[in-house]
């Protein structure tokens, strides 16, 4: 069973359940311990050793069911083949007798014997062994299915079986024809089984692979060139990223600053020891969770990217505790609540419907912000602006951005346009850039991740 378990572990890895080498070894140990007899217990035991979060448990369950699905398939078709055997003659004695007969003319064939005896488990085992031998788990593309099935059957000795059938037909004795028919049925049965097995392997190994390729492609693709059918996949990807970032950054950490004594607390701590300073207390610096104010442009000029910017906003909102989200075309509106309450796609539609796709006015937006929400910004806040800075030749009001700049810890501008376009036409970027701690191009999901990671990192260092 070892190679099979090994293959199962590989299938797990492909479907995004990271199994370390040590865990893999333990899985073998565990399998030896509980055995393969009780499927349910085996599942629980393996899950305990290899799947270590709730998500992973779900994926593990799915993978396990698919991988070990075979056991339930066999019986009925095989029984039909074996039944012929019983009906033919004297039950038990028959196979031996038959074998004796064939021995004269034909070499005995284990595969044929197994089929005639209807020995499901033995066939399954042989198929499993053959599968390991030809490396069915190497299958990468759906199109390899036919080749793989054929190769698998060759390994099991299908050719010999075919020859035997042919031979039997040629001899055309009384028992021979019947046997040939049954073996023919057996051959068909094997074909079906092999095809099923390979299909399951494709499901296990090739599908997740394709999925991953697609995700990698999406991560690199320009936001503005993405198609709407990718939205759902994108959503998953973005949420994954946002979660990763949040897991990395949301913890409030204390950094001990070795070397600076906290005199007051040292004295207080050591009163119990008669003032003899046994316990020294060092000064700590508490690091706060990042506070984020995000302002997202959803006007006509960025319409292609707006959905994805909002999606990112939505995911950030989900994973960061202290974030206030705003969106604007000309007037600014707070959307935190909408994002909190509705599902992603729905929330995005709602925001776009109410404030999206109108002509942009950055000056107006800044005025609105200044008037209504400036309180949200203090020296611990990071302000992120997502937008192209194209303001339809209205007053840019960079003085207001300056005000925010002086107040906030950091102002970050993420622009979906490439840098050479900044300042062309109605782009006001050159006027805004001086008042940003960081202004960057951001038009793929990878960019987005890197920028936000940096941002949170800096927040944690208290820069």
């Amino acid at each position: 069973m070892r190679p099979t378990l090994e293959r199962f572990i590989r299938a797990l890895r492909v479907s995004d359940v990271p199994v370390s080498v040590r865990e893999g070894l333990e899985a073998h140990e565990v399998a030896d311990l509980v055995g393969f007899a009780d499927r349910d217990i085996l599942k629980h035991a393996l899950a305990a050793t290899m799947a270590k979060t709730e998500d992973e448990k779900d994926r593990f369950e799915e993978c396990f069911e698919r991988f070990f699905a075979r056991d339930e398939l066999d019986s009925s078709a095989l029984d039909a083949i074996a039944e012929g055997e019983d009906g033919e003659g004297d039950g038990e004695a028959d196979p031996g007798e038959a074998e004796g007969e064939t021995d004269g003319a034909l070499a005995p064939l284990p595969l044929a014997d197994m089929l005639l005896a209807g020995d499901g488990p033995a066939i399954a085992q042989a198929m499993e062994a053959a599968a390991n031998q030809v490396g069915v788990s190497e299958v990468r593309f759906v199109t390899q299915r036919g080749v793989m099935a054929r190769r698998l059957l060759d390994e099991m000795g299908l050719r010999d079986l075919e020859r035997m059938i042919w031979e039997l037909r040629r001899r055309a004795g009384e028992g021979d024809r019947d046997r040939a028919d049954r073996l023919e049925a057996g051959r068909r049965y094997l074909l079906d089984e092999a095809r099923d097995l390979v299909a399951r392997q494709v499901e296990l190994f090739a599908r997740p692979n394709a999925e991953r390729l697609r995700e990698e492609f999406l991560a690199e693709a320009r936001l503005s060139s993405l198609e709407s059918r990718d939205l759902e996949r994108m959503q998953r990807l973005v949420r994954k990223i946002a979660k990763r970032l949040a897991a990395k950054h949301t913890r409030r950490r204390r950094h001990a600053r070795r070397g600076r004594l906290d005199v007051r607390r040292t004295i207080r701590r050591n009163i119990g020891h008669d003032g003899v300073p046994f316990d020294l207390v060092w000064r700590h610096k508490k690091i706060d969770r990042p506070r984020v104010v995000a302002i997202c442009d959803v006007s006509r000029s960025v319409s292609a990217a707006a959905r994805f910017l909002l999606l990112f906003l939505y995911s950030l909102n989900e994973v960061l505790a202290e974030i206030r989200a705003f969106a604007f075309s000309d007037r600014l509106a707070e959307v935190s609540q909408t994002l909190d309450e509705a599902e992603a796609a729905q929330a995005i539609d709602l925001v776009l419907e109410t404030i999206g796709f109108r002509p942009t006015d950055y000056g107006r937006m800044l005025e609105d912000f200044d008037e209504n929400f400036l309180d949200a910004v203090d020296r611990r806040t990071t302000v992120i602006i997502l937008g192209d800075g194209r303001s339809n030749n209205t007053a840019p009001r960079q003085d207001l951005l300056e005000k925010i700049y002086r107040r906030a810890k950091r102002v970050i501008w993420l622009n979906p346009e490439p840098k050479p376009f900044w300042g062309t036409g109605d782009s006001e970027m050159p006027r805004y850039v001086p008042y940003c701690h960081l202004a960057q191009v951001c038009n793929t999901v990878k960019h987005l991740e890197r920028v936000v990671d940096d941002l949170l990192e800096l927040a944690a260092k208290g820069a």
């Binding site: 370390s20 509980v34 629980h44 709730e54």
Partner: protein, 324 residues
């Protein structure tokens, strides 16, 4: 003694039966995890929603195996001194004061500081010996002669540094104390770690543990648990209330009622002498189940229907049984 314990841990079913005798209904998943942990001598990291019996599992295991339970509650700022060991400063101080004269005797007759220090060096370890060592939970657990059940509760509340510090104990069942040396467990303790998932545990920790996720129980298991804990509960009430709660868990609430709340509610309803769910009673006691005002408000609207449905559930089942 340990033979007996081994017999108790001999198979998954034996464990489940054993836990059941101490009032803990374990699913197959739980039984398997405990079995594997016992056989491979590995800690179990237990995760799941609050109040499904994560801590209870450790408590019950200790009671069932008749081992001392050593519990360590984690919190932010927990450090080695509180988890592993500490020197008894007060006692050390007191003894040095009292023994001042004795010390005088020891160094009497030496000439020069250096000789005195030499003389003292032979004695110095006295103050850093076992007598002055205050063992904290982890050290205590390692030193139990018969083994112990060590419960590290809510590990997710502790700091990352502490988590890293635990690694040595979890993989080798030993700790290093600079003044004394390495302490290795005579009998490795049975370790449970629980987590409510307020933060993701590090991969290093997870790799060293088996992972057990305990979800909310399904209706039948929950009924069994309630019946086991509260043997006097009328069967009809039990079934209705469990059904009601299962329905409640489907709703989109801030905090879903868990097993602990089910049991509390069952107790309250029994105090009120209920033998079945009635809408008035449900409305009055809803605050036992739901801990947020907004949750209570949200459910208010569908209460009547849910109660009725729960009532129907019990009517349905016995009749089906009668037919069969």
């Amino acid at each position: 003694m340990s033979e007996e314990r081994n017999a108790k841990l001999a198979s998954v079913e034996a464990i489940r039966d054993g836990l059941a005798t101490t009032d803990y209904i374990a699913s197959r998943g739980i039984g398997t995890a405990v079995y594997v942990a016992a056989q491979l001598v590995k800690p179990i990291l237990v995760e799941g929603p609050a109040g499904v019996g994560k801590t209870e599992l450790a408590l019950t295991t200790a009671r069932w195996l008749d081992l001392p339970l050593i519990r360590m509650q984690c919190y932010e700022g927990l450090d080695e001194a509180k988890a592993l060991y500490e020197w008894k400063y007060g006692k050390q101080l007191l003894y040095t004061q009292i023994l001042k004269e004795k010390l005088g005797d020891v160094i009497a007759g030496t000439t020069g500081l250096e000789a005195a220090v030499d003389r003292l060096r032979d004695q110095a370890d006295v103050f850093y010996s076992e007598d002055f060592l205050e063992p904290r939970p982890l050290l205590k657990a390692l030193r139990q002669p018969e083994g112990a059940v060590l419960l590290i509760d809510e590990i997710d509340k502790s700091d990352e540094e502490f988590e890293a510090f635990l690694l040595e104990i979890l993989s080798d069942y030993q700790v290093s104390i600079p003044e004394i040396g390495t302490v290795k467990a005579t009998v490795p303790p049975f370790v449970f770690l629980t987590s409510n998932n307020t933060r993701e545990m590090s991969d290093a920790l997870k790799r060293r543990c088996l992972h057990l996720y305990i979800p909310f129980p399904d209706a039948r298991t929950e009924e069994r648990i309630v019946a086991q804990r509260l043997p006097d509960i009328p069967e009809r009430l039990n079934r209705q209330l469990v059904h009601f709660i299962q329905a409640l868990r489907e709703a989109d609430l801030k905090k879903l009622p868990s097993l602990a709340e089910t049991l509390d509610w069952a107790r309250v309803l029994m105090l009120l002498n209920a033998d079945q769910l009635e809408i008035e009673m449900v409305r009055d006691t809803l605050n036992v189940l739901l801990k947020f005002e907004s949750d209570i408000e949200q459910t208010q609207g569908s209460l009547v229907e849910m109660t009725r449905k729960a009532a129907r559930e019990t009517e349905g089942r016995p009749s089906r049984a009668a037919n069969a």
